[in-house]
């Protein structure tokens, strides 16, 4: 195997490791437990939207 081929393979391995690590960073962050505050926020926004809709103010708020 030529020196260039060995080098190319080494470079490709490092590239793959970096990419795997990047994906792992993201996936681990994605798997973190979601605080309850978000469920409460979404519910509050949903209720506010429903109230506005009932009052004829539109449903997007």
């Amino acid at each position: 195997m030529s020196g260039n081929m060995i080098q190319d393979r080494a470079l490709a391995e490092v590239t793959e490791q970096v990419d795997r690590n990047l994906q792992r960073v993201y996936q681990e962050l994605e798997r973190e437990q979601i605080p309850d505050v978000f469920a409460r926020l979404l519910e509050a926004l949903r209720q506010k939207s429903a109230v506005n809709k009932d009052a004829g103010l539109g449903g997007s708020q």
Binding site: Q7, L11, V14, N21, E32, V37, L42, R46, S49
Partner: protein, 193 residues
């Protein structure tokens, strides 16, 4: 496309917001490097998204739309508060000295430390293009820059990451060969900036 993404393509986008929170938090944490700040940022993003939901086109990429709101909010806050320590030359980051361990693997904890030393701009582009699954075109639209800018920014971010991990100094970083940086920089044939 994941089922979650597919679900987000249909129906009332308001009902899909909860499903997007894990991805939003992951992106926010990678930007802010602080969970509390990230949660504040995601909450701001959700409130803004709900308030402007009529501007979202059903059938398009909800996650990309939310990421756009989140990053705009992040940079707007940054301009307001000037909280981030500027380290354009990576001087602060130079304290990091990491190499692949003896079996040639890039230790994950070392990688994380190097990643955390990147600028927000570099973390952002690597997460968007390298990890979250967005295409360069989607990332460019999000960041309101040309696709070529995304590619060159990705290259620079990879180069910086390799510098932080000291893979660029031409020594035997992996198996006795020079130029490991080229691999870190050269994914998808993107030329070094």
């Amino acid at each position: 496309m994941t089922s979650r993404t597919a679900d987000a393509q249909t129906g009332d986008p308001r009902d899909q917001l909860a499903l997007q929170i894990p991805a939003l938090r992951a992106f926010a944490i990678s930007l802010t490097r602080n969970v509390t700040s990230a949660d504040d940022l995601v909450q701001d993003t959700i409130v803004k998204a709900r308030s402007n939901i009529e501007k979202f086109t059903v059938g398009t990429n909800l996650q990309a739309w939310l990421f756009t709101i989140l990053r705009n909010t992040f940079y707007s806050n940054l301009r307001k508060h000037r909280r981030e320590v500027s380290d354009p030359d990576g001087i602060h980051a130079q304290s990091l000295f990491v190499r692949p361990d003896h079996d040639g693997k890039l230790a994950y904890s070392d990688f994380q430390r190097a990643f955390d030393q990147l600028s927000a701009e570099h973390r952002e582009v690597l997460i968007l293009v390298g990890a979250s699954g967005l295409s360069c075109e989607e990332a460019a639209q999000m960041m309101n820059v040309a696709v070529g800018t995304v590619k060159s920014r990705t290259s620079r971010a990879r180069k910086r990451l390799s510098e932080l991990m000291h893979l660029e100094d031409g020594e035997d970083a992996l198996s006795g060969h020079d130029g490991v940086t080229l691999a870190v920089m050269g994914r998808s044939g993107i030329p070094a900036a």
